[in-house]
Amino acid sequence: MALSPLAWAAGVKPGMRRAGALMLAPQARLHERSPELEAQALQAVALALLQYSPLVAQGEEATLLVDAGASLRLFGGVRTLCRQIAASLRALGYTAQLSCAPTARGAWLLARAGTRRGRTLSMASLVRRLDRLPCALLPPARPWLDWLEGIGCRTLGQLRHLPRPGLQRRCGAAVLDMLDDAHGHNTELFVWLEAPPTFRASLELFDRVEHADALLFGARRLLQQMTGWLCARQFAVERIQLLLAHERGRVARAPTVIDLALGEAVWRDEHLVRLLKERLAQLVLDAPVIGLTLEALQVQPMAPPSESLFPEPGGTPQERQRLLELLVARLGAENVLQASPRADYRPEAANQWLPLPAKPVSRSAAPDLPPGLPGMPRPGWLLAQPIALLMREHRPFYGSPLKMVSVAERIEAGWWGQSQARDYFIAEGRDHAHYWVYRERIAGSAEDAAPRWFLHGLFG
């Protein structure tokens, strides 16, 4: 029987009967123990732990053994590594007992004993701690516990000092083997876990979730597993898909799909968490969600980061790409625009702004600009719609009468589509602000037909 901390606080104790527990905590939920779910949870944790070391093995009695001896320098020491693993486990939503020791069996025994601060680094202190542990921790010694207690042998230290041939004859070789493993006299052999070739992880939510931003917690758990998988396979992910499974009502509902395509492949989850957070914040759910599935659709081999000797001003291109992806995720792709002028005489056709490409384009694809650009009268602001100007005393009027201060620039183009025939002028108002105005030339009419003036730009 296992308890949540809340149930513990309500006074429920292990070994209580169902009715007694329900009397103390009427709102408690009782679950049957399910071996499949436990195995799945252990598998999920093992996958997440692969980000710390490729050597992860499953031990007896719901334990995982990680050989981190080779990567202690990388993670900055045992303490930091333990802290990071504990944080990963918290993100996954599980509680665990962490311990580390020079031998795997020693660490296993310390973890099973549930001692606080189960960290030993030297063999001598491990032996001291092991000697104090009770005999019942050794699985092969459990059938002989009564006998061992009868001869006054309660701790592993006392067990170790018994004569070996007699102990082997009475209890079998397994007890001695395990003791030798713990003390480093034997070489331990493990079956290391293999990461699956493709990644797809699912999570059932405990409740029906109606607000999309509450799903981030579940998504973070799945991302944690994906990080472990990516590190183990030496992959970086380019495209992921999060499927939100809906409750099946009268009609089956297709799951909502969140597709994240990245310009720059990543294998750490911070950036993905930020992107998913913005995407989920914008999502409006039309039905409650009961499950999440995360899939890595496109992966590529991990490229090691290349560090330059001197940091570039303004950050690396990867950082820039990450910022742009974040902006696109929150504001929408149609609101993050990049200038890409087109070769066209008509100003509104030439001033083209396009959404960012999914992949950063190389410099060679830069648009060619018209020759003689620096002298061309082009205003900084181009109005989205030209404003028809009032006429007062045969002069266009915008706030004040406008005075033309330049010669006309005739633009006549677009016969294949929207034909335009305009004379553009720079005009100056009474407040000395400059405007870009044009006179529409109507085909077939004389020059002195009543001219129609429009305001098209402001010189910002």
Binding site: G315, R320, R322, L373, L383, I426, G460
Partner: protein, 236 residues
């Protein structure tokens, strides 16, 4: 003796000390404005990067882009973000000032909350060369927050607001007003680390024209009309 020397030149003690009659010389990095007359009036000799610059503009189209363009052209290859501009910006006009179109990013946002979020994230990431942010109403605590975010990086951060915001307090160390004037623009110094200056600074800034028929004067001065020089029938 040494004490009196120190009292004579206290500004030599620390770079962030200055006399009320002198321009401050903060340790911040500055970008040259491209206008010698303006650079001489700014502490540090240019636009300070990594801090909030408040530009109060009489109306969109007062010459604010042409004022900033020479400084922006000194950031080759870095993105220049135009956040919530009042009108669609024209890439050709900015390209004529030396800004590559691939640098220019135009961000539109649905509300001011999104815009402030975007501005803060751009400043925090520090991977953009410049951020020009148009916002008409902004609360003082948001300004302070943006100023703090800007100090973490080296981004040239300019906030462009209407002229009536000049009365409100702002954490920006540099606040200028921009008004169009005959033949250029007039820059008023609302706040700077230096002596108070009431007279606006005139910068000649003409829009590019296909053909200049007249040589530009520094300032067009109205010709004094002497008595009897104008025919009475013209006046009447």
């Amino acid at each position: 003796m040494q004490h009196s020397e120190l009292m004579a030149a206290p500004e030599a003690l620390h770079p962030s000390l200055w006399r009320a009659s002198q321009l401050g010389q903060g340790a911040t990095r500055c970008l040259d404005t491209g206008f010698a007359a303006l650079s001489a009036q700014l502490p540090g000799g240019g636009w300070p990067s990594g801090s909030l610059i408040d530009l109060l503009v009489q109306q969109p189209g007062s010459g604010e882009l042409r004022l900033l363009a020479p400084a922006l052209a000194q950031l080759p290859g870095l993105p220049i973000v135009l956040l919530q501009p009042p009108h669609p910006p024209q890439a050709l006009a900015l390209a004529a000032q030396g800004l590559a179109p691939s640098q220019l990013l135009w961000l539109k946002s649905a509300g001011s909350k999104d815009a402030l979020w975007a501005a803060e994230n751009i400043l925090r990431s520090g991977s953009c060369g410049a951020l020009l942010f148009w916002q008409s109403h902004v609360r003082a605590d948001s300004l302070r927050r943006l100023h703090l975010a800007a100090q973490g990086g080296n981004t040239l951060f300019c906030m462009l607001r209407p002229l009536h915001g000049a009365q409100d307090a702002s954490p920006a160390p540099l606040r200028l007003s921009v008004r169009p004037a005959a033949g250029g623009i007039e820059i008023g110094f609302i706040k700077r680390r230096g002596p108070q200056r009431d007279a606006p600074l005139f910068l000649p800034l003409q829009p590019p024209s296909l053909l200049r028929r007249h040589a530009t004067l520094d300032r067009p001065v109205p010709a004094p009309a002497s008595a009897r020089s104008i025919l009475p029938e013209l006046v009447g």
